[in-house]
Amino acid sequence: MFRYFKLYQQFVRINWKLLFAYRASLLNHVVNSLTWSGFLFISVLLLTNKVSSIAGWDRNALLLLAGMYNLVMGIYHSIFAKSLHGMAEIVLYGKLDAYLLKPFDSQFHLSLREVNIPGFLRCVIGIIMVAVLAPQNHIVLTVSTLVLFLLTLTISVVFLYSSWFSTLTLLIWFPRMDNLIDLMYGTSGLGRYPKEVIAPFHGTFMFFLLLPFFLVVSIPTKVLLDSANYLEIGLLSLLAVFFLFFSRYFWKFALRSYSGGSV
């Protein structure tokens, strides 16, 4: 365990150096974070220009949800998304061999080797949005709320990671489907909306497939708003744990079908 911690420290150190070696790339990442954070803010303002509220979510609550989306996605994109982004190319061009031959876990290496340090800017924007909107949403932060909030935030990030990794494991069989990553970005984008919008699909396969992605942001937001539904928290926790184990098993299973491109 300690060995992996030291390894992750090295990944962070390398990424930190790369950050300043390629300053234009740093600028690109900063612009990207600002753009999507700004888009969320503007889109909520525009949508609520015509819509007063949705199932109890008024403009302030929807802006809070947007802030929380920035925070959750900021954490997720900074830690995992950049590494997973390159997975298609690694599998397609047979570079996976190099990962499998290293004396440490291939899933760990593939998932954490690239840290998107500028992505944390999005977390900062999210925290600022939540802090500014807290008084309008009558948020009272107690120790228990804070603990539950951090716990649900962690569960959400774990669920996102495990669902992304499980899906991207399909690349072992379909290496040309490099746009699976875009599909996962799109699916995670559902978190921008309150989960109540999916009500028309209630009871259908689509409902059960997409519901967790609506929950990843709305659950931590509801914890802050003191309107958390413990059944939903339990459901997301179960799914996060299930997918975490499933992603591990599925990856090991998929590797049996990997033929290697550079051998």
């Binding site: 234009a24 600028l27 753009t35 220009n49 949705i54 040309r176």
Partner: protein, 264 residues
């Protein structure tokens, strides 16, 4: 023309070979469109929308938006910018007796057709499930509507080609693409119909080319534009094609003088 048609046919083979990739792009497009649609349906069902809009109207708008996004909108910028300009793939095109612009246009078309077929199929399925009827435009407006749709595709393509050219100077232009994508999502009517915007935003949207790439053609397909408004829309499209096309030529000439073939 014959050689471009040959490239078009080769590109059809490429699309047929990459069926699963095209299906994933289509699913992504559905996901983005329907998530906003669900927001509007929830808002209408909770009676919290100001103004008169019904669920079938908004469903029809977003289904046609899906069609426009898949069929009329071009997605060529990534290939031009990354594979051709940044990684040096452009070199082989410079040596061929063809126009790079039109090569890209004709090889992009089969992808649009594939997207069009899938969006029409999904339109039929959804209209059957949700009992949505497609408004039939008056016969006299059909030729103009077709012209409008073709020029939409040319306008969107010209814009995306122009968008790829800054790569000659900045090499890595994905952040620029992201910024422009956000602007297009808002200003073209992908986020919400432009008629829902505040006045000042509406005026701004109509003074940019993006509204003529998505919102105006969708309104025309919905039958909400009179013949005169359609002519005006078509005129604006031609104006923007000329402006963006001339800018493209100018920037291309400047950029190509800076281009360095990589990996040769």
């Amino acid at each position: 023309m014959k050689r471009y048609f040959a490239m078009f046919k080769v590109s059809i083979q490429d699309v047929l070979q990459s069926r699963s990739v095209e299906v994933v792009w289509f699913l992504l497009s559905c996901l983005n469109t329907f998530s906003i649609l669900l927001f509007w349906i929830a808002a209408i069902n909770h009676k919290s929308v100001t103004g008169s809009i019904s669920v079938p109207q908004i469903q029809l708008y977003y289904l046609l938006l899906l069609f426009a996004g898949q069929t009329l909108m071009s997605h060529v910028e990534e290939s031009v910018s990354r594979y051709d300009i940044k990684e040096g793939g452009l070199s082989k095109f410079l040596l061929r007796p063809i126009s790079y612009f039109w090569f890209r246009y004709w090889t992009e078309l089969p992808w649009r057709f594939a997207g069009g077929i899938m969006s029409v199929a999904s339109f039929i399925v959804f209209s059957f499930i949700f009992h949505i009827g497609l408004p039939i435009p008056p016969l006299a407006t059909v030729p103009l509507l077709l012209l409008l749709l073709i020029s939409t595709n040319v306008l969107a393509f010209t814009y995306k080609m122009l968008l790829s050219l800054p790569t000659f100077w900045i090499t890595d232009s994905w952040a620029l693409f992201e910024v422009m994508e956000v602007i297009v999502i808002i200003m073209s009517g992908f986020l919400m119909p432009l008629s829902f915007f505040p006045d000042i935003m509406q005026r701004l949207a109509y003074s940019l080319p993006f509204a003529y790439m998505v919102f105006v053609p969708v309104q025309a397909m919905l039958g909400q534009l009179s013949l005169i408004q359609m002519v005006q829309g078509f005129g604006m499209q031609l104006f923007w094609i000329a402006v963006l096309g001339l800018t493209y030529r100018f920037v291309w000439k400047k950029g190509i003088s800076l281009y360095t073939g990589v990996g040769m």
